[in-house]
């Protein structure tokens, strides 16, 4: 479902949700965003509940950093007292730390929805087709993205070559020292690959100032507009509710 939405429409909507999450300093709103993102993944994308929970773990760990910072170092910190005294209903009931914590999860989940439902190649094609991203930059991004999975196999290839020179089969998982020793060869591999890609692109006529066709750029559909309007309306409604209850 979500994967069929135009990547740029999705990008704009996700950016707006993130903006909402950042500028509206309210715990309930953050929880609402987290719930929406999780629901979108579970209901619309049919991802397993476990996967969605697992996704939240790193975001939560990340957010936990803010929580500890603000709990331990806030000047007027009577955070623990507040927590004990008040049940978390109104927005003021939460310390800034909790909101920051939830916000990290909320932003993380929105990004996760975007990343999990978007083909990076399609995104870059759409950027070139609709937002006039220059092809030289577009294809550089493309090459960079495609390099990511290849780094793993290149690392494995280097480990094979080294193991063979030593005359013993490579260990299944590289230790920290071995990993560190792979950084420079992998960077060298990446730069070399970039050099060759530049030649390959140039030899087949990628030129900055000639118009080019883009095959397979995702088309805009009516559903994209419906999706954008609905999700923006939802965002507006959520803000309205928060501000309403906050002032009332």
């Amino acid at each position: 479902m979500l994967s069929r939405i135009h990547p740029l429409a999705k990008l704009v909507v996700c950016l707006i949700w993130i903006a909402v999450s950042i500028f509206v300093f309210d715990a309930w709103l953050q929880i609402f965003i987290i719930a929406m993102a999780a629901l979108a993944l579970i209901v619309l994308e049919r991802r397993s509940v476990l996967l969605v929970l697992a996704l939240m773990v790193p975001f939560a760990l990340f957010g936990f950093g803010f929580l500890t910072t603000s709990v331990l170092f806030r000047q007027e910190s009577d955070f623990a007292l507040q927590m004990a005294r008040e049940t978390p209903l109104g927005s003021e009931a939460f310390s800034a730390g909790i909101v920051l914590f939830l916000r990290a999860i909320a932003c993380g989940m929105v990004s996760a929805v975007f990343a999990l439902t978007t083909d990076p190649g399609g995104l870059i094609k759409a950027l070139m087709a609709n937002w006039r991203l220059p092809p030289s930059i577009g294809f550089s991004l493309f090459a960079a993205l495609q390099l990511v999975p290849d780094i793993a196999s290149e690392a494995q290839q280097i480990r094979l070559a080294r193991a063979m020179k030593k005359g013993r089969p490579p260990r299944r998982i590289p230790g920290p020292l071995e990993t560190a020793s792979l950084v420079i060869p992998l960077l060298a591999f990446a730069i070399r690959r970039a050099t060759r890609t530049a030649i390959a692109l140039e030899a087949r006529g990628l030129s900055p100032d000639r118009p080019r066709t883009i095959v397979g750029a995702p088309p805009f559909r009516r559903g994209d507009i419906t999706f954008a309007v609905l999700s923006l309306a939802l965002a507006a409604a959520a803000i309205w509710v928060v501000i309403g209850t906050g002032s009332g």
Binding site: I18, A143, V148
Partner: protein, 194 residues
């Protein structure tokens, strides 16, 4: 030697792949940080922060053109977002701010000087910019002043060492592998020897 402003396709591509590789490494570094944070507490972020500036320094030292620091850092952030970084899309803003910090230092030297002190200064530049940004984002004004100063100093040190110095070492090691031949760093060095 006058600096060239126009980028070649090869340079754009190299900047992009550097961004990609460091995007992956940055993400691995997040794990290091999270573990350290759990053990040593909150200021850990400032201690490890410098590593997240390194790509801007390496890219600038190799390509030596305006924008290299900024572009590579933003790209590394973008790659992390796509790989599902915990920080989410906001990371793009962090990347922009950090890259701008390093870029500002290179700009101050008119993009001509890439010796070690300048690289370390660029690390500090990124640290200062990122400190201002995190101040706004995480409401640092509410923190105790002593702590704030400690955080600031740690972050600048980290930027100079984990960003500038380490970046310098990596660049040197890469130069030795021969893959940088024909790039501005190579031309500058060979030009200096001739």
């Amino acid at each position: 030697m006058d600096i060239q402003y126009k980028w070649t396709l090869r340079e754009i591509l190299i900047c992009a792949v550097l961004g990609a590789v460091f995007g992956v490494l940055y993400l691995a570094w997040v794990q290091v940080w999270l573990i350290a944070q759990a053990i040593f507490g909150a200021v850990t972020m400032d201690v490890v922060m410098g590593f997240w500036f390194i790509v801007s320094i390496i890219a600038a030292a190799i390509i030596r053109k305006p924008g290299a620091a900024l572009f590579s850092e933003v790209l590394a952030a973008a790659i992390q977002v796509m790989l599902g970084s915990p920080a989410g899309l906001l990371l793009l803003v962090s990347g922009l701010v950090q890259g701008a910090g390093a870029e500002a230092v290179f700009a101050a030297r008119k993009w001509r000087d890439y010796r070690l002190p300048v690289l370390m200064a660029a690390g500090v530049g990124a640290a200062v910019f990122s400190f201002i940004y995190t101040w706004i984002r995480f409401d640092y004004g509410a923190l105790a002043p002593g702590l704030l100063i400690a955080m600031f100093v740690l972050r600048c040190l980290s930027g100079a060492l984990l960003g500038g110095l380490l970046g310098h070492w990596v660049t040197e090691a890469l130069y030795k592998t021969g893959v940088l031949s024909g790039l501005p760093i190579d031309r500058a060095r060979r030009g200096a020897h001739a």
